[in-house]
């Protein structure tokens, strides 16, 4: 089976994730959309690795997973901190920081 199908699937998932980031207001759902975009990029990496016949793509996908895990830890800690002070997880609230 042609791996370009997987790449097309990855672009579809990436676009859905981008729409989620733009449309949703809940900070946690925005975060999940970012995770979805990272996963789509991983799928593209894996498909390209298969097309090129070496494991570099899979290794890079592995590192992307590590970075995504670190990003989730820090991002969720930031969300919890903002929620503690503002009692809200909406991404519309922190724009008050500019005043």
């Amino acid at each position: 089976m042609n791996p370009s199908n997987y790449v097309v699937l990855a672009t579809v998932l990436f676009s859905i994730g981008a729409v989620g980031v733009l449309v949703r207001r809940n900070a946690i759902v925005v975060f999940m959309s970012i995770e979805l975009m990272l996963n789509a990029a991983n799928l593209a990496f894996v498909a390209f690795s298969r097309m090129n016949g070496n494991l570099d793509g899979q290794t890079v996908a592995f590192f992307v997973m590590v970075v995504a895990a670190a990003e989730v830890v820090v991002g969720l800690a930031i969300i919890v901190t903002i929620f503690r002070t503002r009692r809200s997880a909406s991404i519309d609230e922190p724009n008050l920081l500019k005043y």
């Binding site: 729409v19 946690i28 894996v46 290794t59 592995f62 969720l76 969300i79 519309d92």
Partner: protein, 259 residues
């Protein structure tokens, strides 16, 4: 298994898993509640793990299940419980037309990406990973060989990143204590000085005909005690009114005993 069989098998796996993955992604964007979004994303990630395995990346498939579905999504659910499950999206648009513009942007990006990547991939030959996986004796050994030789510096930097992320999470989630924690003595003094009922409240009455929690106890002077009935029952005005006969009987008994 012949080559044709493997191909059709992979096609079935691809179309089923791809459909479920896209359905999960759409459900994540469209569902109103954040918990539902998290469960939809978990579905997408499990199907992505299946697709990794189908792409001869079994190690990444397992890592996907363990790290993403197991750790990351459960961390999301945990934070959702902390933040509050009820915090659903506000439907007010702060920027006019932002939602429509976002959807149009996503559609445009999907079309553009599929068009350009599809254009670049036409006529591309697929080498396949069978030779690369077999070179070091397996997929895990092959990835390990790359991580600990060519990508060793990246791997070391990754450990620094993880330590920094753990430190950052601890610092961000830490809450400074402004006053010392109250001791048991402080709590006892506060309870006595609070002016309320310092000890246990009297238990509800238990009689020959009524012994439910909505029956007030009778005090030694013959009156009923309101605080013996639990507060929720009192708030609903469900407490049972004792028959005057019972109270009179009690009064007779107490007066007779005192004489």
């Amino acid at each position: 298994m012949t080559e044709v069989d493997a191909n059709t098998g992979e096609q079935i796996v691809f179309w089923v898993s791809a459909t479920l993955a896209v359905a999960g992604a759409l459900g994540m964007v469209l569902s109103r509640k954040a918990v539902h979004s998290a469960l939809w994303v978990a579905l997408t990630m499990i199907n992505l793990a299946i697709l990794y395995v189908a792409n001869s990346a079994p190690f990444l498939g397992m890592v996907q299940v363990i790290v993403y579905t197991g750790a990351v999504m459960m961390l999301f659910l945990f934070v959702l419980m902390v933040v509050g499950v009820d915090s659903s999206d506000s439907l007010i648009e702060t920027i006019k037309g932002q939602r429509l513009a976002g959807i149009l942007f996503g559609l445009g990006m999907a079309v553009l990406l599929i068009w350009t990547i599809g254009h670049g991939l036409t006529g591309a030959t697929t080498v396949g990973l069978d030779a690369a996986n077999a070179a070091d004796g397996g997929n895990v050994q092959g990835i390990a060989n790359l991580i600990f030789t060519r990508y060793l510096l990246v791997f070391e930097l990754t450990s620094a990143l993880l330590i920094t992320a753990a430190m950052g999470a601890m610092v961000l989630a830490h809450r400074d204590r402004w006053r010392p924690a109250p001791t048991q003595r402080d709590l006892a003094i506060a309870r006595v000085r609070g002016g309320g009922h310092p000890g246990n409240l009297p238990v509800p009455g238990s009689y020959a005909r009524h012994n439910a929690v909505d029956t007030p106890a009778i005090l030694p002077d013959g009156s009923t005690s309101d605080i013996s009935v639990p507060a929720p029952v009192r708030a609903r005005a469900d407490e049972r009114q004792l028959d005057r006969v019972d109270i009179d009987e009690v009064r007779e008994i107490t007066e007779g005993r005192s004489e």
